[in-house]
Amino acid sequence: MSASGTIAGPRRRLNRRRLRESLLFVAFVLPNAALIAVFTYRPLILNVWYSMLDWTLGSARATFIGLGNYREFFTKDAGAVLGTTLIFTVVTVGGSMLIGLGLAVVLNRRLIGRNPARATVFAPYVLSGVGVGLVWTFIFDPVGGVLAAVLRKFGASSPQWFLQPGLSLTMVIIVYIWKNLGYCAVIYLAALQAVPRDLLEAAALDGAGRSRTFRSIVWPLISPTTFFLLMTTILSSLQSFDLIRIMTPMGQGTTTLMYASYLQAFGGYNRAGYSSAISTILVVILLILTVFQMRFLERKVYYA
């Protein structure tokens, strides 16, 4: 700010007002900005530093090992962890978007009770992941679970959801979709409702059937929403933790990047450096996706 000494009265008064305004700005913004700087940004840098250390959490000594942790990850764990992350992300994102779109189309019809239905479908999204995970653990339980009881009625026995890694992953994916599809449904519904009515009427007058109208008019028009949902659900799926932790504590079949990073530091191994390396890899992936999303949204094209 300019603060020269000898100027005329009004100028000085103006300067003083600007100064007071600046001070108020600092008072209003600093606490928030400082918290974000210390607890959101600083960790990103620290992670990079920690990731080059061989360091046991809680220990006072650490050894610098350069890219050793990364080398270990990419030679040892990367295949399984990245594979699990890929399957989890693709299936949860695809599943919740597809089912969400289907529900949105239904909710967009003039049906009695569609507003309560919209709220019901959205509800699981706001519920505690731990609570939801417990409920579904009970449902999937091979002995006392309701699913097992239903299977018994048909003469089948319950699969060992909690023992076979592939089944554990399937189970967590199902619950994740259950919890998150309402978000996709509500956002798709808003997009469907924003489709100009006259376009739909024109298509109807031209004799286009429902599926033709959807393919040629609605789907292209809601493509920005599809892209937006694709990016946001990929990002949140990559970060999912609660359900995995409560339903499969050891990460049997469900060790995604996020969960691997947690397990290495806090799951009994206490490997702070290795965990930070995995976190850094995750941050790089998130960063690439975010930049990609922003670039893409700059061009707000409909026929993407």
Binding site: F25, F122, S279
Partner: protein
């Protein structure tokens, strides 16, 4: 839960929560196909393409939650039997009492209430002051600071786990309330959402107040805050739900059940109660963590849905 957001001032941001004050859907207007032109839906389509899938979807959502409540009133015998017991024969609160005997449930509940109340209050206040500053005060480099806060929305708190643990543990924050609350206090979401809202307020009213000699503080508390109640309510509700459900950080920073929040205490309960007969107790715990949010959601879903889908669709 993650927050939906595009970019600063982008085309996709829903500006004003007031618009949702009405009775319409939160997207504002109806745009269903005009039946006078397309012709009425045949009843088969109404049923098989409308009511039937809708009912099935709602059942898939509701039944597990109903199962949770029923389960919490059952006895151990009723859940380990091979024959499915749908309805508890002797519904009782025994599971709730048993859960309290294993872990200190009232304490966990109070901890969650405390952490949520303090955390959400501070966050909402910080969001209001920051948003006011970004909307109405001049400061060199304001845009860059705002952008930096905005980008923080993209950084998941999960990846800061180890560094933040080292920081807070180093300050002696393990098993303390402040240690649970502090790292999450910065609010990018609230700042962003309220700034959008403040900037849509009628500027001439605020200018008139300025002419009359009203300072920034009186303009903030006498005009901006009262005019933005719906948006502030939205931010407050979303923040409260987030704090209540917050799991990974309290899980890492607490080891003592006198300071654990409900989700963390439930994890402990699940660990010490390994066998299936414990399900009534676990369901009782799930009810306690889920039901408060569900009730709030039922009454105020309009605000919560609006807040969580903010920024998604124009």
């Amino acid at each position: 839960m993650s927050l939906a957001l595009t970019r600063a001032g982008g085309p996709a941001i829903v500006g004003n929560a007031e618009r949702r004050g009405g009775r319409k859907d939160h997207s504002g207007h109806e745009a269903t196909v005009d039946e006078s032109i397309v012709g009425p839906d045949p009843w088969t389509r109404r049923v098989f393409g409308g009511y039937l899938p809708l009912i099935i979807a709602c059942l898939i959502i509701v039944l597990p939650l109903l199962w949770m409540v029923l389960g919490s009133f059952k006895t151990a015998d009723e859940v380990i039997t091979q024959d499915l017991v749908l309805w508890p024969h002797h519904p009782s609160f025994a599971a709730y009492a048993n859960a309290s005997a294993k872990v200190n449930f009232p304490q966990l509940f109070m901890n969650s209430v405390l952490v949520t109340a303090v955390g959400a209050t501070v966050k909402v206040v910080l969001a209001i002051t920051s948003a006011y500053a970004f909307a109405f005060l001049r400061f060199p480099g304001k845009r860059i600071i705002f952008l930096a806060i905005l980008v923080a929305l993209m950084v998941p708190s999960q990846v800061s786990l180890v560094p933040n643990y080292i920081t807070i543990a180093g300050m002696g924050g393990v098993n303390t309330y402040w240690g649970i609350i502090l790292p999450g206090l910065g609010t990018a979401f609230g700042t962003f959402l309220l700034r959008q809202n403040f900037m849509s307020l009628p500027i001439d009213v605020l200018e008139a107040a300025e002419m009359d000699g009203a300072g920034h503080l009186s303009r903030l508390f006498r005009m901006v805050v009262p005019m933005s109640t719906p948006a502030i309510a939205t931010v407050a509700l979303v923040t409260i739900v987030d704090e209540w459900n917050n799991y990974i950080w309290p899980l890492v920073i607490t080891t003592d059940d006198s300071r654990m929040t409900l989700p963390v205490g439930l994890t402990l309960l699940k660990n010490i109660e390994g066998d299936p007969s414990a399900y009534p107790i676990l369901m009782a715990g799930a009810v306690v963590v889920i039901l408060p949010v569900l009730i709030v959601f039922l009454f105020l879903q309009r605000y919560i849905v609006a807040g969580l889908t903010q920024g998604a669709v124009k």
